[in-house]
């Protein structure tokens, strides 16, 4: 009797095991546990929509697979560099020209139909027909040029690896370099944790360079002396968050700054004194809802403004989005 009881009990237990396995296998336990250690980036990315003062009026595909650099000349022609080519578009997004080259350029600047491209550690000069005019020797084999600006007869190149801005004349001769720590003049040097380092010229030929590790935009004289700087470290809308921000800037004809901030993915306007004015576009302009929660790679590759104050943004999908004031 006892034995029978034991057998019966054991067999029932065994069948329970079989049942447990079977039910666990076939019941679709779509348990969507909350993640206690979640980093809620989508909350940080929320932007008060009343702050948005620009609207998207147009967008077009660059048709390039690895678009890297965007520039606009005085005739409002758009130049896009990347994937071993440069393409030209008019302001409504119609392709008007372009040429191929044999290196991948990461940034470019245009003046008088002369195109200056930063390709790794070299500066290349092309004319609009796609002929290479000159190729300057690398200043340093390790250099990585992330931004080029033109002013008068000089070319300014920002080198992220050496943390220097180099000023060249049009013959390719180095005029000066800035970036060395100079505590006497109150300059701490550029802190550049990753290859985001921009240099740009304002409406009054004032030179600005980003010090991304310090969240500063700094003004230098043409002699390379630091003049002033502005910038605030903060996750709130007025400041710059994370590391290496603002990672791209452009200066509007009226002297206002357009900044792109990776991570939170926001493009904002600051007035010439560095006071936050408003938002051009938030992450929703570049991301789907899902991406707001999950995506962590930067969405914007470069930005530029034309002489009417229209803002052009080149995104990571090789699309150019065009924003104007509301």
């Amino acid at each position: 009797m006892k034995q029978k009881l034991i057998i019966g009990f054991s067999v029932i237990l065994l069948l329970t095991v079989v049942y447990l396995i079977g039910s666990d296998l076939f019941t679709n336990s779509s348990k969507h546990d909350e993640n206690p250690t979640e980093y809620k980036i989508d909350k940080l990315r929320q932007i008060d929509s009343s702050l948005i003062c620009y609207k998207e009026i147009n967008h077009f595909n660059s048709g390039m697979s690895k678009a890297k650099g965007l520039a606009i000349d005085e005739n409002n022609t758009i130049y896009i560099a990347g994937n071993k080519q440069v393409l030209l578009f008019n302001s409504s997004g119609i392709k008007t020209g372009g040429f191929k080259m044999d290196t991948l350029a990461h940034c470019l600047a245009v003046d008088n139909d002369q195109i200056y491209l930063g390709a790794g550690n070299r500066i290349l000069q092309y004319n609009i027909a796609g002929e290479q005019i000159s190729s300057w020797p690398a200043f340093n084999p390790k250099s990585f040029i992330t931004s080029i600006a033109l002013n008068g007869n000089h070319i300014y190149a920002a080198d992220a690896i050496n943390r220097r801005v180099f000023k060249y004349n049009k013959n390719g001769n180095l005029v000066w370099e800035i970036g060395k720590k100079d505590t006497a003049k109150g300059f701490e040097g550029f802190v550049i944790p990753s290859p985001y380092f921009e240099v740009a010229f304002g409406a009054y030929n004032d030179m600005w360079a980003v010090n991304p590790g310090k969240h500063l935009v700094q003004n230098f004289s043409v002699e390379g002396e630091i003049q002033s700087s502005w910038g605030l470290t903060s996750f709130s809308i007025e400041g710059f968050s994370g590391c290496c921000n603002p990672s791209h800037i452009a200066i509007l004809p009226n002297g206002e700054f357009v900044t792109y901030e990776k991570g939170l993915e926001r493009i904002k306007i600051y007035d010439p004194t560095g006071k936050f004015r408003c938002v051009v576009a938030g992450p929703e302009s570049f991301m789907r809802k899902e991406d707001l929660i999950l995506k962590i790679a930067p969405c914007v590759v470069d930005l530029a403004v034309d002489n009417e104050g229209t803002i052009y943004v080149l995104d990571a999908n090789n699309m150019v989005k065009v924003f104007v004031k509301k």
């Binding site: 993640n35 994370g242 991570g263 962590i296 790679a297």
Partner: protein, 186 residues
């Protein structure tokens, strides 16, 4: 008569045995002809990883075999490290209220103004990936979740892989057992 029957049974047995033997041989040959010379191990593709936190909880080991790896070559040594500090932190100190890591597994060391070295204490790291997301979104992405092979028992079917919502787990050859992401890589 019994003998005859026995012989017959023996004969059938032998025939089936040879049949099974041939069958095993064929399967073996078929599989051996395209076998891998090396073994394979589980690894996370950081490009697919979405830092959902399942690595911390789904591993069959009591301490997950997935840990955060720090690729120093990619690190910016920032004072304001978004993998170390909570977002919106005002003071850049090591205070518990500022630290992102739930187990305080990241150690911060002053190197040189304004640089700080960050070091993962693997004993404490639970592989939740919180710092990985912070670093990836705002920084260089030098913090990456990877299966640590000295801990991983290389289950036939990885329990985290089954739970992984972004299918970031795959088997990789043991000869190159880590999948680290370079900058801008996809």
């Amino acid at each position: 008569m019994d003998n005859k029957k026995l012989n017959r049974r023996e004969f059938i047995n032998k025939g089936v045995r040879i049949g099974i033997g041939v069958g095993i041989g064929v399967i073996g040959y078929e599989l051996l002809s395209r076998t891998l010379s090396s073994k394979t191990v589980w690894q996370i593709d950081p490009a697919k990883c979405i830092q959902c936190g399942k690595c911390a909880t789904s591993c069959v080991l009591e301490q997950s075999a997935v840990k955060c790896l720090h690729v120093y070559q990619m690190c910016g040594y920032c004072d304001l490290c978004s993998g170390y500090l909570r977002p919106e932190t005002k003071e850049l100190t090591t205070g518990a209220e500022n630290q992102l890591c739930p187990t305080s597994a990241i150690e911060r060391k002053y190197i040189d103004d304004p640089y700080f070295e960050y070091h993962i204490n693997e004993e404490l790291c639970i592989g939740c990936g919180k710092c990985v997301k912070g670093c990836g979104a705002f920084g260089n992405g030098s913090l990456q979740l990877q299966v640590q092979h000295e801990l991983c028992v290389n289950c036939n079917q990885c329990a985290i892989a089954r739970e992984c919502p972004s299918e970031a787990f795959s088997r990789v050859p043991a000869s190159s057992p880590y999948l680290l992401k370079g900058f801008g890589g996809k």
